[in-house]
Amino acid sequence: MSTTTTTTAGGVKVIKPTVNSYIRDYWGRVRGGDLGTLPAILGLIVLSLIFGISTDTFFSGLNFANLFNQSAQVIFIAMGLVFVLLLGEIDLSAGFASGVCGAVVAILLTNHGWEWYTAIPAALVTGLVIGFVLGFLVAKIGIPSFVVTLAAFLGFQGLLLVLLGGGTNISTRDEFFNSLNNDNLSPVWSWILTIVAIVGYAGVQLNNVRSRAKRGLVTDPMGIVAMRIGGLAALLIIGTAILSQERAINPAINSLKGVPIVVPIMGIFLVIWTFVLGRTAYGRHVYAVGGNTEAARRAGIKVDRIRISVFVIGSFMAAIGGIMAVSRASSVDPNTGGSNILLYSVGAAVIGGTSLFGGKGKVINAVIGGAVIAVIDNGMGLLGFSSGTKYIVTGLILLVAASVDALARRRAAATGNR
């Protein structure tokens, strides 16, 4: 383990990390309570292996593709909830907000004959307005977010019933709209997007190293950077390869191959929000307000605006979740966004490693946590468990995740990592 001492700009001595010391540091942080997505990834692997071994169909291409379609709504809502949770707030209304936005899009498409390119923006604007109202009530009036969004949860449930005329089912027939969360990209496009994603990721990583090295700053060791790029590339290539296979039960009638359309949409939002949180001043301020509101205020950050904005993002993403849910079912009913959707979404963010106490979390947490929940739901369904058992197991996993979060915080407090 050779470490060379180097001097950064300005003369503050720091150690130049090697692959070994980087891994040791990472392990040290994990032991110190900074777990990140590690538990969720381990859980995902373990669960997949269990279900893969105990069922024939879990690892089939058809089921793999289904996982994405099934989990889309939860993952989109969870991405928005990450922002809300980062401030230590909660949005209990996200589920029914997604239902309301889904109803808006369905009503406009079916009852009013709007085109998808006007109906979808209308639903998104609905989400923005909902988020602004929630955020305003929390930030400016000062009502606890739990109460505001609990009221909104009930209100939106009612609004959804009113919009649907007391419980009718409105189906959507717009082809493009229904394809969003049902159809697949052609294998050619699947591969093109996979390559674009890998090249883009590699470009960002290498550019990062280059621009830091140019200034004489400490960079991540090349070995680690290569491992990251290689890991992502392997994951995406394997995934695309599986999804590019014919997976229809009867290909002659209806051929099914390629990456589900919803995957690149998820990818785009994952990249956008990760960029916003990690690379913009706005994202930095979100973390700051979540970590120490008073310090953020003293630093001149407009705390109220940040607070409103996270609810706006939360409800906006809920609107997208709603659109995906309606597209998936090709219809909207009074329970779209109801039942366990909200709790699954909060669960996804928390299982993925976002702290309920604020200040810690990433958008990728929503995706990984959402995958864990989808795998449990899907795998236990394949094993023939009743939904009662599924809920119990999902509840237990959420409890485990929340305990990990709480214990990690205690550990971190003891080791001075937080």
Binding site: L217, Y287, A299
Partner: protein, 271 residues
Amino acid sequence: MAATPLLELNGINKGFGPVQVLHDVGLSVYPGEVTALVGDNGAGKSTLVKCISGIYQIDSGTVTFEGNPVSIHGPSDASSLGIEVVYQDLALCDNLDVVQNMFLGREKKRGIVLDEPTMEQMAGDALASLSVRTLKSLRQLVASLSGGQRQTVAIAKAVLWNSKVVILDEPTAALGVAQTAQVLELVRRLADNGLGVVLISHNMNDVFAVSDRIAALYLGRMAAQVKTTDVTHSQVVELITAGRSGNIGLPPEKPADFNGDAVDITPGGDK
């Protein structure tokens, strides 16, 4: 010493509802000098600092900065003037690293993207100019720093922004002996670099060790602003606890309160 104060407050009033916290407070801060702001608990030190830094709005009074009257409506007004406050509770975000904390609220950007390399470099330069060589990494989370290191990061923030006035609220309150000495040395170095430094402290040893002037607040009034060399330890303590000491300090509210006058006929009475 420079003749014109860098920052001058006159007749500052501040109340919260029925409670009047500051009464006609005046304060002058000179470049290159450490002005110690002393006073008992509840004397209004922290309120005064928050008025200067824009967290509270003053009810009345004038603030003059470099000879020009200014009005401070928020923290960003104060920082754009070059007034930097290092708070007692440090006001650092534990979940952010050293660089992120030092640039919080004033991030360097290229377009909309944060310019991390530039920020890291500037943060390194600022810390080095304060002879800080103990951090493992500039990307270390503030949560993992010791009290002295946190204080250093908070003070380095002031250097980073080429501030003209730095206000330190009890910077040594939570520190051990060695760390206190380091921070005081840092305070002196800030003043020697030409900054106007306001040091709030309860510790008379600290005050006499580094300050050039002492301003004593008593129940929301400025009792006196004196040169450190002109007063003794016990005089300052009297200013803090009684609002006056001999013939310096606040005038008596009732003649009977003023021992100096009451015993005027006694030869050798303390004037």
